[in-house]
Symmetry: C2
């Protein structure tokens, strides 16, 4: 976590003066020394676990994080906000039948509609472009359309990931327009791995599945070999209503310029298929540890530092957006804001936003 | 598949004479050229799929293989035999609860007993040695014991795999002796991967689960941190009765020494979690292709060549053992026998048996 720590501390913007530079050295040194950061991360992942915004574990994470800031001697508050639309997967299953029968591993794409033993022909929709749907024509109506994804390798990286997100949203809109019964996305990761694509288009309009790559490519080969297949799926979700979540905001008041706010944050929420260690427990724990070490070392930053742990990030950066609404009167006082995401290690890039 | 093909053809034992050497060259050349071997493998994996001995797809594979030999102009027969004990997984689920709750991905170990919402304390039994069970003492009685496995890497290879098999059998026997309610084995493969351990000890004596490594290590860390956990599991299996299976035996009669039999074989069956391409569809398809190419090239081997596709291999080499019983009167006529298993590529080693 060495380089991420250094980047986060630089983001505090307190370097550039002789004493501030020494403070930064002391802070980096402390954080790379014997800190409870790994223990914190272990509580967040092993004990609290996956923490989808709106779940009981998400609430547990909020309470834990506030307590952890306060145990570190940093004042912290819970700032509730409304999430527009609940979505959580409860149970999902699917069977491919017809000329051949098998039971692939599937999950629902976030904001999928529910389905109760929805049985329909399964059609090869290639990569799911406009041309693919034009080729399918009326056949797509009331059918499950199988959308191919290129294999996502480490070399392709984030660009490939974001292309997959937007391609999926595009295919989903085309499938909806074509009157498809539902969409089956092929996992872009090998070895049976499933993951949650983000929401980038319409909510709850169609049943949307993600199928592990080996079974999806098998179905695709069979279809391309002229075999006739159907898919029967059940998708049980808890969805559709607004609900309360909260950000956790820790604060160390500035010693000489308290009205100037430096904000650093990380999202506290995760999806539910794993325990959210790299995305984003590592950075949430780092926020707590930076606050803890500043207090422990007795550093007195000139400006006010806010440590924000967001929720609703995986649903479209909702928590951080709510912060800007709730704090709009003091936005002009924010001299800097940075949010840390996607793992540990060297900082690989920046996303800038207004 | 280059080196495997060459190895298999050498195993026919027809090299050493000038014309035989030319025949081998012709055969290797033909098999590395344009053959239906990949198409055959694709039917066996994509269309027939996982083919546990005793399943409908196992029967389909037997019929398909016999037909494929005969289409290649090689006489083939189905030789039925009795399998001692059916075991197939129907449905398995488990939830960890107590101080923390999560739902790990699990399967049953082959020949696991069934269980219906069996709820019991989950205990850390370390690597499951005699000392571990001595340490647990009476606590193991009526508890689920979690057995740690070292990570199995490519570098550790087959030795590690076989050590895992025998360690699991040893731990299982100790758990049974200790009166445990059931055993939870930690997957030795990372990234959520599950697989079927073989049967090496008592059948159906205990409920036996394999849990994906990430959740199993999470449970282990929580237990070692003093947390109290229970496991509730349901294991639905179809098991316990003798049933019929069959080997498929193709044969090309020898031209000058027909009573001398050279046998080459490969198991046709697979487990059910995948489609059995490397273990062992690749070699089953190779047996069919060797037979096909000998016929197509008009080769006249001196000795009789038998091509055996075994079933019941994953249940303990049952099919090949049944062959030796059914053919005991002609065993002395077998001048050589070799069975090909575990994938494609260079031959990495030999297991010898009497």
């Amino acid at each position: 976590m060495r380089f991420h720590v250094f980047g986060a501390i630089c983001a505090l913007g307190i370097a550039g003066q002789a004493s501030a530079a020494e403070d930064v050295d002391a802070l980096v040194g402390a954080m790379l020394g014997d800190t409870p950061i790994i223990g914190d991360l272990q509580i967040l992942t092993d004990q609290i676990g996956g923490r989808v915004t709106g779940s009981p574990s998400s609430k547990a994470a909020v309470d834990w994080a506030r307590a952890r800031f306060e145990q570190a001697g940093v004042s912290a508050k819970i700032e509730p906000f409304e999430m527009p639309s609940q979505w959580q997967e409860l149970a999902v299953s699917a069977t491919v039948s017809g000329d051949h029968t098998f039971t692939p591993r599937v999950i629902a794409k976030p904001f999928s509609a529910g389905a109760d033993q929805l049985s329909a022909p399964l059609l090869d929709a290639g990569p799911g472009t406009k041309d693919d749907f034009a080729r399918l024509g009326d056949a797509a109506r009331n059918a499950w359309v199988l959308i191919e994804s290129p294999l996502l390798t480490d070399e392709i990286g984030l660009n490939g990931l974001f292309a997959e997100y937007s391609d999926a949203a595009h295919s989903e809109a085309l499938a909806f327009a074509a009157g498809a019964a539902g969409v089956v996305f092929m996992s872009s990761r090998p070895n049976n791995l499933l993951y949650r694509l983000p929401l980038l288009s319409g909510k709850g309009r169609l049943p949307l599945l993600l199928m592990e790559r080996e079974s999806a490519t098998r179905a695709q080969r069979l279809l391309r070999d002229g075999k006739s297949l159907s898919l029967t799926a059940s998708i049980e979700v808890d969805s559709g209503y607004a609900y309360q979540s909260a950000n956790v905001i820790g604060e160390i008041r500035g010693s000489s310029r308290p009205d100037e706010i430096v904000l650093i944050g990380a999202h506290l929420d995760s999806h539910d298929l794993g325990t959210g260690a790299l995305d984003n427990g590592a950075n949430a724990s780092m926020m707590i540890d930076i606050a803890r070490q500043i207090t422990r070392l007795g550093l007195k930053p000139a400006r006010t530092i806010r440590f924000a742990l967001w929720n609703g990030e995986e649903q479209g950066l909702v928590g951080s957006w709510r912060y800007t609404q709730q704090h709009q009167d003091e936005l002009d006082n924010h001299v800097m804001a940075a949010s840390f995401d996607i793992g540990t290690g060297r900082i690989l890039g920046f996303f800038t936003g207004g």
